[in-house]
Amino acid sequence: MSVTDGVLEKAAQAAFYVVALATLLGAWWAVSARNLFRAALGLALALFGVAALYLYLEAEFLAVVQLLIYVGAILTLILFGVMLTARIADPSQPRWNRQAGAALGLAAGIGLGLGWLYLNGAWAAPGTAQPPVALAALGKTLVSGYLLPFELLSLLLLGALVGALVIAKRE
């Protein structure tokens, strides 16, 4: 490994902290912003961050899918929902319900407990570095071993499409 490779690796490791922090900050905005539009923008930041983490894990296809489906489709849908249902930024409306204290305790307990377990658990590092998953291998797995769930998923999406139209149409 040359000197520049080492420097690049250090820079990538430093950038990981920025990405992780941005992801968690976006998630916090998504659940705490009083204005739902800002909450959706925080969700966008978190989804972008997760896509960047996929790149760190050398799952390039999943990163692209994350951007296309989550940021491109689901987030657009959520923004439409926010704009179609009024009273989004009413400051007199409390953003959380009465269980906020108990839920904060539960979520913080689970999150900190899991984090402690992850950092202190006996994770035996794999001896040899695994090769990243090749795109061709991923496609082959999808349509050989998982062909039935794959086709069922398309059926589910068709059902969701028709069902959403029926539910949301005007009488």
């Binding site: 990981f16 998630a27 989550y70 953003r95 998923l153 999406l157 139209l165 539910i167 949301a168």
Partner: protein
């Protein structure tokens, strides 16, 4: 891996905790949906990270993550359609005020 596995898992745990908090406490139904999306993203991050560290070259973990993304899309579509229908009938999407089935 440039960054060790537990770092990704800690980010996933943080995303899960915040998504759980949002899904439990948001008064707005769309806010609850956002919390659920965060929880699904946390699960996906764990699947992909474990697949990278210990998985086989077939990429089963990534296939699972793809299925989760597909089902999340279907859930978001139906959920938002329900929210729109409820808003049209009741003029509110606050989860506290939707109690048609409460006796």
């Amino acid at each position: 891996m440039i960054v060790p596995l537990p770092y990704f898992l800690v980010v996933g745990a943080g995303l899960f905790a915040m998504g759980l908090f949002g899904a439990l406490t948001r008064r707005n139904a769309i806010g609850i949906l956002m919390g659920i999306e965060l929880i699904l993203n946390a699960a996906n991050l764990n699947l992909v990270a474990f697949n990278r560290a210990w998985g086989t070259p077939e990429g089963t973990g990534q296939v699972m993550a793809l299925f989760v993304i597909g089902i999340a899309a279907a859930a978001a579509v139906v959920g938002l359609a329900l929210i729109l229908a409820i808003f049209r009938h009741r003029q509110t999407i606050s989860a506290d005020e939707i109690r048609l089935l409460k006796g």
